[in-house]
């Protein structure tokens, strides 16, 4: 039982099993995204739930992040030519990194948890088995619409977050730090390139996929009643958050190397 080799073996086997299950699950989910029939009604519903209802959370996060970024750069950086530095760094920081990552983490907490809890409850009350007996593939009916909805809506959320984040920086800079608003905006627009925004949006599409996939995967495989659903929810949020940060690192190193 406590033989170190046995422990290592068990851990390796469990990890491999989990990776195998996840790969199979991803394949099943994605293959049903591309194969007809398509459930547009469900897709619309999920886009509302994942995208529209996440707007307030994402907007508030972006606003305060932009504001605090402006303050920190002003206090920490050189205060002599801060007027150009604050605007540029806020814009770059928000569009390249903080917008996508913070919006991704907030959506993972809000949406990933709710997907896992919903599908987990459907699993333990046999509703997912019931779908099968009613000639409806649960991957097609439950997983595919959530994957597509997240991949479409998270980038839109991040685009809105980018704008609100920059506005947060602008508000703090003009109200608290007595910057000139026109100069601030001119600096933002001059230094910001299209690539800064698009790289963030590409990242956020990947984050959306990760969030929906983790929510669905852990929900689908939950077992053992209320406690199992709770565990699935926690796992969905934790794994999605870690994968978002890891994927962010990998994508940043790929995108900005070229």
């Amino acid at each position: 039982m406590w033989n170190p080799f046995a422990i290592i073996g068990r851990v390796v086997l469990a990890t491999l099993e989990e990776i195998g299950q996840l790969s199979l699950f991803t394949w099943n989910g994605v293959s049903h995204v591309v194969r007809p029939p398509y459930f547009f009604r469900l897709l619309g519903q999920q886009m509302m739930r994942i995208g529209y209802f996440s707007l307030p959370v994402v907007a508030m996060t972006a606003f305060f992040t932009g504001g605090v970024l402006a303050l920190q750069i002003y206090y920490g950086g050189s205060q002599y030519n801060s007027e150009s530095i604050v605007a540029t760094i806020v814009a770059l920081g928000i569009t390249r990194e903080l917008g996508p990552v913070l919006a991704g983490l907030m959506v993972a907490g809000r949406v990933g948890a709710s997907i896992a809890a919903e599908l987990g409850t459907m699993r333990v009350t046999e509703q997912i088995d019931a779908l099968t007996t009613l000639s409806t593939n649960p991957y097609k009916y439950l997983v595919a619409p959530r994957l597509v909805a997240a991949v479409i809506t998270v980038p839109i959320l991040v685009l809105i977050a980018d704008i609100i984040g920059v506005m947060g920086g602008y508000m703090v800079a003009t109200k608290n730090l007595d910057f000139n608003g026109g100069v601030y905006l001119a600096n933002t627009i001059d230094f910001l390139k299209t690539d800064d925004v698009t790289s963030g949006l590409i990242k956020s599409a990947v984050f959306g996929f990760i969030i929906a996939l983790m929510g669905c995967f852990h929900g689908f495989n939950s077992k053992g009643g209320a406690q199992g659903v709770g565990r699935a929810t926690t796992n969905a949020v934790v794994t999605a958050s870690i994968l978002i940060l890891a994927a962010d690192y990998v994508m940043t190193s790929l995108i900005f190397k070229s």
């Binding site: 029939p37 459907m122 009350t125 046999e126 509703q127 088995d129 019931a130 099968t132 007996t133 009613l134 000639s135 409806t136 593939n137 009916y141």
Partner: protein, 257 residues
């Protein structure tokens, strides 16, 4: 000799180190009602899920209408599943949908029927299980346990299946409602001319709805016969089970106080 609808041959399934089905064989005649009795954890639910393809058995054959169904995939599997209706133990109603959409689900999603037409059929099926059209608009959470069971039954028969599975149809109901459900099961099965397979540990229900009874123990069928022979089965396990005795060949894995 009646025609066989479902024929399970030496079906085995293990989960990790735990053997759940251990070479189970069972023949289910067409158009009749077979009830499988057995204690908790003897493999009853796993057997149903193997037939439906929700769980893939490790070994053995499952013939339905003479076709081995274990390896069916894609469109063949969808066509195969369209033969079935199932009443789940907890109802397994979709709580995000109103009652009529639950009943009509297989027609709308599975068979692409227009919603208006499916709704009419749903209301007709609800009437068959004694529920009025006013219930159709309610959500499952607003119904009592007995009503949920009846909605589940209406959903199971909505697409006029050839085979209906009943998973513990009377568990958790009061004795009177249990008997109402039993009567509904008999009436709907006869009405459709369907083959019924039920699993239960409620002997009153089993005696009432069964043409044949089979007993499952440790993943195998240990006795199988017409319902009239259940009291003189000559099998000690069956005797112990139907009389509900703690003493006998079946031992529960309990620590004695």
């Amino acid at each position: 000799m009646t025609k066989l609808k479902i024929d399970l041959k030496n079906v085995s399934k293990r989960f990790g180190s735990k053997t759940v089905l251990n070479g189970l064989s069972l023949s289910i005649p067409s158009g009749e009602s077979t009830v499988v009795i057995g204690g908790s954890g003897t493999g009853k639910s796993v057997m149903l899920k193997c037939i439906l393809g929700i769980i893939t058995p490790d070994a053995g054959e499952i013939l339905v209408d003479g076709v081995d169904v274990v390896k069916l995939r894609g469109g063949d599997r969808d066509a195969y599943l369209a033969k079935f209706g199932m009443l789940f133990q907890g109802g397994a109603l979709f709580d995000s949908l109103p009652v009529w959409e639950n009943v009509a689900f297989g027609l709308i999603q599975g068979r692409n029927m227009a919603r208006g037409k499916a709704r009419d059929i749903a209301i007709e099926k609800l009437a068959k299980v004694g529920l009025g059209a006013d219930v159709a608009k309610l959500y499952p959470a607003e119904l009592s346990g007995g009503m949920q069971k009846r909605v589940g039954l209406a959903r199971a028969i909505a697409a006029d299946p050839e085979i209906i599975f009943f998973d513990e149809p009377t568990t958790g109901l009061d004795p009177i409602m249990a008997d109402v459900i039993n009567d509904l099961i008999i009436a709907t099965v006869k009405d459709l001319g369907a083959t019924a397979l039920s699993i239960t540990h409620d002997m009153a229900s089993a005696r009432k709805i069964a043409d044949h009874i089979a007993m499952i123990y440790k993943g195998r069928i240990i006795w199988n016969g017409p319902v009239g022979r259940i009291d003189d089965s000559g099998n000690d396990y069956v005797d112990q089970f139907i009389h509900g005795r703690a003493e006998g060949p079946i031992t529960m894995d309990l620590l004695k106080p």
